[in-house]
Amino acid sequence: MKATFILLLFWMCIQVTWGQDSIPRQEGRVLEIKGHWFTFQAQDFFSSMKVDPNMLSQQRGGQLSNTLTFLPGVSALNTGVGIAKPVIRGFFGSRVAVMDMGIRQEGQQWGNDHGLEWDQFSIGNLTIVKGAASLEFGGDALGGALIIEHEPWPKNKNSTQILGVVSNNNRQRGWSVFHQQVLKLSNGVSARCGARITRLSTDDYRVPVDSFTYLNRTLPLKNGVLSNTATQENHITAFSEWRFPNGGLRSLRLTYRLNDTQSGLFPGFVGVPTLQSVSGDGDKSNFSLPRVNNLHQKLLLAMQFKAGDDFIRMNVGFQRSNRVELSRPHQPGFVPYSADSLSLGLTLNTTQWNLGKDWILFNAWRLKTGLQFQLKQSEVCGNEFLIPGFKQHQQAFYATVVDQNQIHFHQFFGVRVEQGGIAIKGYQQPWYNVDQPTDSVLVRALPFAKRSMGWAAQYGWTWTGPKDWQVHSVLGKVYRIPQINEWAINGIHHGSHRHEKGSTDLKWESGYQWDANVMKEWGNGHAQLTGFVAYYDNFIFLAPQSYFSDLPDGGQVYAYQQRAVLWTGGELFLDWHPLQWWNTDFALEAIHTRENTTGLGLPFVPPIAMKSNQRWYWSKGNQHEWAFLVNMRYAFDQNRVSRNERTTPGYFVMNANFQYGYKWSNQRSISFVLQCNNVNNSVYYNHLSLYRPMNLAEQGRWIQGTMALNF
């Protein structure tokens, strides 16, 4: 298999070089199709969807990750409604990079139940990269990336936005205020400063059932409420941006972000649910034990310098992530009986530094080079143990070359070389006799240090044919550095009694990926067919073992192991604009995974699904706008599962929303969105929900209202 891919790569290089027509020098080409909700772009190494910011406000889910799920190829991995992370073509967590001002977001993403720390209102432009984005964003980004940009510059001297949101299901309520001011400066220097503050709260999560079956027992849910699942989010973003017409430094942007979230955890998520624990305490908005507090802060600096005819980019970022998990001590012997409720305290500091320069070479080939450096330092504390403290450093160099010499056909090639090292601290957990530590200890992690090197390469081309046919194809080798949990986790993770175990024998993950897009545009619509094939020599995943944990409350051991895996799939997307006031689209997405040793699928792979949006809209003059949207999703049964993973039956869900906007000047407007989700009140299970193993259904019919005032 490996040899076949290398041969294919070689064959493509030769054939494409021979097959070029000689066409006068042109700028590099971006294949672009503008749909109703997003603009599909295939530029160089990326095929991406640039999402319309208006869509985000119209389709808003509980979290940013949920909001994106109506897009083809995008899903969300949920823990109820308050915690979610984006899934692109079945990849999530560290395999999907979230890029903010050129700096990769680094938090506690190693846990499936750890949500993405982001203010869903603080998004100017959002681009979703599907497929490997390894060369520029790091080897980890083999599934894709989310590129989030600041709010755009105001049209006038300043702009303000006041947002309010309220929902009935879990009484989500919140507001967000944004203001930015353009500064008047001499010598043509332009600058702006701005800030956004957001606060969101939810009560306990409600599902359209009054009981659930877990293990061999059926437990009641009073009024369908999942006790202790309230959430609270506080976000602050502050930034300043400067642009200089002359001199070496041409632009500078400084951003500070703070994301503070507190989430209750359904008692069944940590330990066996009992009648008492699922009955709750009657207060739907408080936080009992167990719960999670997550504080993520970052300071980012982006600068651009002019050097001759070229530009040099520099991005520096510092991030600090504090995750605190609180629960009743429930590991007799491992904690003193008088222990407090701090079960896990995880602190991660990350420093990143990126430097890049573009060059124009002979014959209009564009060379893009970059250096990247990252240092992570982590400390842990608490009564329980999952991962040890560690230090990790990575340094990488990448270079990409793009042929800008052709009109209809251009090709590109890039390589990335990365060197990294990790030093893991050992951890010995003492045994307690009531409150006194005994002489015996249990070794949970041994000190470990390792240095490795990896490389990635991609080759691709775009072709624009007659009658608006466009093709984009990228073939590449990718790698991924194992995460700390894959190296060294050794403890019981929430959501099950699984004892998860890392392995210091793991090698860097490597694989070969091929992505292709065929697009066709016509007068009032377009079609896009995407296919992807990936073969990984040593894909890392959690696999069940044939023995139990030696921890008293631990169940089966799930160990990280490496196996050859084939990952294939595709998306078909049709967008049609039959009338001036009607837009319709349809998406079909499918992913097939195969672990070659057992022939089984991988865990948490989204089912085959069909998605469709119907939007009708009218306007009166330039002032009044109305829109009505119906969004439908049909998911097929997910029967291709990993060992011990539950199959999930298919479902149909329909959402509807109505939007009205009034604009009284270029910058001043007000809009209202009334959204009814799960209109058909379907009782369904989400295969990607961490509540799925507990047989907990998703939300029933719920209504959400949003108001946005811009001036």
Binding site: M12, Q15, L566
Partner: protein
């Protein structure tokens, strides 16, 4: 250009061939072991009433289509820190004292019926959970079974 287009279709064809030429491996055992019976003092029911300071016998009957690997018996408090358990028939009963038990049995073959005698401390009362789990050699996990142990003075 023509060569490039040919190359494109050639590559696509090769990829499709590559995918479908993967040797279909035989899917391993995916059948879960089954816990057929859990008897406490020879009685099979959801809730068992026991006396502090006594012992009780747990006998588990289980089967697998290929080869069993391990069985785990675990006892832990059912009070979740609330101090009392709303178990029907025992409402308001408070958990007093500390007790936990864990034992793993190594198994083999397609059927087994391991037995364990468990001593109850004389200092406890309340409701505890008896949790039974089994795994086979391929890593398939049985559906867990959980029973209530009501310990009275």
């Amino acid at each position: 250009m023509k060569i490039s287009k040919k190359m494109h279709w050639f590559v696509m064809g090769m990829m499709v061939l590559t995918i479908f030429s993967c040797k279909p491996e035989e899917v391993q055992d995916v059948e879960r072991p089954v816990i057929n019976s859990v008897m406490v003092n020879s009685v099979q029911q959801e809730t068992h009433e026991l006396t502090a300071g006594n012992s009780f016998v747990v006998q588990v009957g289980l089967t697998d289509n290929e080869d069993l690997s391990q069985l785990k018996i675990n006892v832990h408090s059912a009070d979740d820190g609330h101090g009392h358990v709303d178990l029907p028939g025992y409402e308001g009963l408070e958990n007093v004292g500390l007790w936990s038990y864990s034992r793993v049995f190594d198994l083999s073959g397609t059927a087994s019926s391991p037995t364990s005698t468990i001593a109850i401390p004389d200092t406890i009362t309340g409701v505890w959970h008896l949790e039974i789990m089994a795994i086979d050699k391929a890593g398939n996990e049985s559906d867990e079974k959980v029973y209530n142990l009501v310990v009275l003075p």
